[in-house]
Amino acid sequence: MGSELMFFFETVISGVMAGVMYALVALGFVLIFKASGIFNFAQGVMCLFAALALYDFMAPGGWIDRLFGITLPVWLAIVATIGVMIVVAWLIERLVLQHLVQQDPIILFMATLGLAYVLEGLGDILFGSDVKPLDLGIPQGASDWALDTLGLYVEKLEVVAAITGAVLVTVLAIFFQRTRIGRALRAVADDHQAALSVGISLRTIWVIVWSVSGIVALVAGIMWGSKSGVQFSLSLIALKALPVLILGGFTSVPGAIVGGLIIGVGEKLAEVYFGPYVGGAIENWFAYMLALAFLLFRPQGLFGERIIERV
């Protein structure tokens, strides 16, 4: 009985950890949706692209190595990758978004599909399609202490991810609440015209928000890439973030985290306790069904802004 209870805790903890990992991906979506109303289909590919760049900068035979004959240490590679993501954001604004201001959200959504294709193709051309084991020195494997003393299985990488996720959300929350740019971002989210009238350039805002989202993508890419190696499949984790998004609301940063936790715990419990009776592999649709059930009660997601209907 005791071990059953212990196992239940383990399942819940795994769910929490998985949820944080999903939330890391979902955060990138939220940032862009919040500030520009764009559902960014390319978010998954951005994670892949960032992780590919990061690996490449540190690897012998990578671009830095070929161009300058050196490989970068981890921290410098991260800085360089952040630089790359900012350039990518700037290019996206310059070449794509700028020409599509005022279009329907669904058109912009389609444009992000184009972006996804471009980033995928460029990623392949620039960095190759092999599996790249990403080792930044993040501890991996089960925590021995937890396993030996508590008999509890906790993955170290995921603890790191959870802490990172928490820090990231806090930083973003402060960024949105306290800084001038953050307030501007919120203003843009509320009303494009109003934001323009107080003298904030929409274009600057978009570059900033896509950059931040690129950085979030890098964090997600590092965490997932450390787990499975950097490869094309990394771009598919975006699918895992979608139920989190609907549950938490497209516009809420804390929503992404809470949504991630609910989805993570929910799907793990379902798979472990209910899956064996129906043949398993139910996690995916269960996550969506769970999100759908929530939506039926709150059509705008848990933390989404309330939709008011008027004529």
Binding site: Q103, M110, V311
Partner: protein
């Protein structure tokens, strides 16, 4: 010079309500149909049918179905892959259980089954809107595919999980299976697509179509002038799923011939068809065709152009193809955000003035 409507007067409302009120358009469409029905079958070979025409036709029908729902009724759905799977599996179950049943009836029944399933998964649309609905329809996508993959009955307990279409004759002509001639398979699909494109055009210009568009443009006002959201949305889901189900049936039965649920009907399908209608033109029957052509044929054109034409190495060509595909999508959206169909319309308007641009 050649594209003029001046001098074409309508003397009755019937004529004014005709599908193609402008004579040149009529000639053009009849010409396209004539070439498609009478010309293409003469030169079509297995490459053209398997790589070009059947994928185009199957996806065009699916895109048409989704466009009815998303383009005309404004309900974004990402369940297309799942609904295509319903159509495909209905076809498989029907044709293996009743081998004597005419394939035409099987395809129609598959559409009907899918319509029923579509209505069921359309129910949340009464409360959930926009992208939330889109992502909610993913629940249908994942659940349906899981179901077909997991429950042996759907697969006729095939040990591998692959379903295979038996060879079926329609009016004495083989249309499925490896021995069916390219022309027979092509004509079978083409007939469905042409007929149901016409039906779609009719539906969207009648009462039902108007009620869908009313819901799309302003659902509250529509409700207040007496359009029932329930009936309008669910009928859109039903008709749309009917089309998508038939598309799934042709996709599996006539084109691929065998399929496994996860790969053939995965989430990528849902996105692909949605992108077809956006790039082709939301709320446009023509746009569904243009979008399907763009998304299915453009990669092949790019690839063949680079590999055969420019002798680029295959891998590089693939990478460049993906990148170019993205660039083209963005390019077309910037040039005309409302899709290829609108671009075509603008072209026609220019043609109307040609050769005097002002």
């Amino acid at each position: 010079m050649f594209y003029r409507e001046a001098g074409q007067f309508k003397s009755s409302y019937n004529a004014d309500q005709a599908i193609l009120p402008i004579a040149q358009d009529r000639v053009f469409v009849i010409g396209v149909l004539a070439v498609a029905f009478a010309g293409v079958p003469w030169f079509i070979d297995s490459y053209w049918v398997n790589a070009i025409f059947l994928p185009f036709l199957a996806y065009a029908l699916a895109a048409l179905g989704l466009n009815l729902l998303t383009g005309y009724c404004g309900q974004v759905s990402l369940g297309t892959g799942g609904f295509m799977a319903v159509g495909a599996f209905a076809t498989f179950k029907l044709i293996t259980a009743f081998p004597e049943l005419n394939l035409i009836i099987v395809v129609l029944l598959s559409g009907a089954v899918t319509a029923a399933v579509g209505v069921m998964f359309g129910l949340p649309s009464l409360r959930i809107k926009g992208f939330y609905l889109a992502v909610a329809t993913l629940a249908a996508q994942f659940f349906l595919v899981w179901l077909f993959n997991k429950v042996g009955w759907f697969l006729n307990y095939s040990p591998t999980g692959q379903i295979t279409m038996p060879s079926v004759e329609v009016f004495g002509v083989l249309v499925t299976g490896p021995r069916a001639t390219p022309a027979a398979r092509y004509l079978f699909c083409l007939s469905f697509v042409a007929l149901f494109a016409l039906a779609a055009k009719n539906i969207v210009r009648g009462r039902v179509g108007r009620s869908w568009m009313a819901i799309r443009d302003m659902d509250i006002a529509a409700e207040l002038i007496g359009i029932r959201p329930l009936a309008a949305k669910l009928s859109a889901f039903a008709v749309s799923s009917f089309y998508i189900g038939m598309a799934g049936s042709l996709y599996f039965g006539v084109w691929l011939g065998s399929a496994e649920p996860i790969e053939a009907f995965g989430i990528e399908q849902s996105f692909l068809v949605l992108f077809m209608i956006i790039i082709g033109g939301l709320g446009s029957v023509l746009g569904s065709f243009l979008g399907a052509a763009f998304m299915t044929l453009m990669p092949i054109v790019l690839k063949n152009f680079m590999v055969d034409g420019l002798a680029v190495e295959v891998v590089t060509a693939k990478h460049v193809e993906i990148t170019l595909m993205g660039v083209l999508i963005i390019f077309f959206l910037i040039v005309e955000p409302h899709g290829l169909a609108r671009m075509w319309q603008i072209l026609k308007e220019k043609l109307r003035l040609w050769p005097f641009p002002y």
